[in-house]
Amino acid sequence: MNSYENEARRSAPLVGERGERRTRGGRNLVGFPAVSTPTRNRADALDFLGVDALLSEEERMIRDTVRRFVRERVLPDAGGWFERGEFPRELVPELGKLGLLGMHIDGYGCAGASAVAYGLACMELEAGDTGVRSFVSVQGSLAMYSILRWGSEEHKREWLPPMAAGERIGCFGLTEPDSGSDPGSMRTTAKTSGGDWILDGTKMWITNGGIADVAVVWARAEDGIRGFLVPAGTPGFSARDIHGKMSLRASVTSELVFDGCRVPRDMMLPEARGLRGPLCCLDEARYGIAWGAAGAGRACYEAALAYAKERTQFGKPIASFQLTQRKLVEMLLATNRAALLALHVGRMKDEGRLAPEQVSLAKLANVRDALEVARSARSVLGANGISLEYPVIRHMNNLESVFTYEGTNEIHTLIIGQAITGLSAFQ
């Protein structure tokens, strides 16, 4: 899996006819790998275990398309978005056009790609920026998947095609100020009144909240947890963006307030009852995160490797020092393991034999490893490691969110612990 940095270093400016530079949207146009076939029996520093060869041509084409999109549309501005705390909303229709939104959903205007292809897309997106990948995860795996899995045919027809096209944005409201790892303790209520539902309560840390056209909201009804579709602008529903975040800065995070919010009866997702409703959507998103974290880790490793080979101290590149080499090799171990693990669970998912606790293992292992890689890469880059000129500190800070959201490191540990002992430590 070649790197952005590596390609950037290799690339001479492409000169077109009569000396003008070939550009796309004002940026250098770089060749599109038709397919990335290994040509020699020597380990590649950027795909050490040759994971590339385990992908089909179609998977590689999807991966290469997202990689190019990230190189051209995400990487040039990612540092600026992070610094300004700005979500690149203008990218949303482009993400839709490529087929990235709800990409593993069949029908309703979605691409219908495999789980592995979806994972590869998450990996490339997060090698760009976690905020962009988070948008795609929440839109596709949480909001759209909730509607697909639990909604009525009318819900699907009304919402999925415009959400796939990026014309409508969705968010997913489960977490509350006092209810995080223990969603069963939620306080948001849904009561019937004159044929409608009345929602009361507050949701917290909701990605896409302030820009969403529709919120999938989970609330406690008389017969258990139920899901509701609440369009933006519904009286009694407001969203307030959360500021002062030092992580996931290129992403909108909001608080959703429901104050006597009246929604028609048919806006309830008919098929979801109980916590299983939201939890099965979380499994979808966690799967993508396991891939995404592998991408963020890879980006940090590649940045550190390139930097270490160029940065000279004591008259030689710092890559020649044993302490640095050890760091680079530890990063390499972690990133290659993460890619293999992600691909393995992806194949299992496509075969329909992936268990939730296996998703927990992949999420826990890959996010933890990516965070370690990011911190180590930060130290290799020295003072430059804290600058947004390089991607490392951005990934490092973003991964702190990924470590906690969609099931904390601790909760995934206990899910796996329960799976192997048969004893629940938290229920």
Binding site: E20, R24, F32, T37, T39, M61, F69, A113
Partner: protein, 251 residues
Amino acid sequence: MNITVCIKQVPDPNQPYKLSGTRLDREAVQPVLDPGDEFGVEAGLKLAEAHGGEVTVLSMGPAKAMEAMRRALSMGAHKGILVSDEALAGADAQATAQVLAAAIKRNPFDLVIAGTESADGSTGAVPAMIAELLGVPQATFAKQLEVKEGTLTIHRQTQEGYDVVECALPAVLTVTSGVNEPRYPTFKGIMQAKNKPVEQLSAADLGLSVAASQQVAAVNPAPARGQGEIFEDDGTGAARIADFLKNAKVI
């Protein structure tokens, strides 16, 4: 409109090339769809979207060139023709043009589109030769184009600006990188690409027996730029620079 877009798989032009004798070592560098060809594919797709009809991508190359073809198909082209024949290895511009023209002639066509030159061979001669062999006009170096009532009108890029050139269809058109912004393949396009028809032909299928009439005698690197001339400015610097530029016939 029946549109044929000529494409080529080339070693990634962003990586250093390697030579094998006087030929490029195509095994050593990752092959890609020539970035310049993406503009031709985009131009064809835009015209087909506006006027109806089909875009056929046409390439001559080894079996591996199928990957570049699928890239063009994933952008939205409808079908492909790949002429692949051991006997064509090392074909020069004329032999290539003969093969491509013969493949184009098998079906009715309104427009043949190509990049201005390939990123590897860079002869820029093939499109003109195709036009000659097909007996149709050529409109080249288009940075803007329009088709209306059987007439192709282009802005032909020049050193100073552009010429407006018009010709009747059918015609051969070459496009520069300024002509459009190639689309990204969509995931649906990528997944459909493998089911699109690609006809594979040999030279014999085209009734051709062609051979390169040119041989590359030697390949030499461009001479390194020489040392510049350094003037110490003793008050006459401006005049000496002016003289220098005058001698170089710049002013």
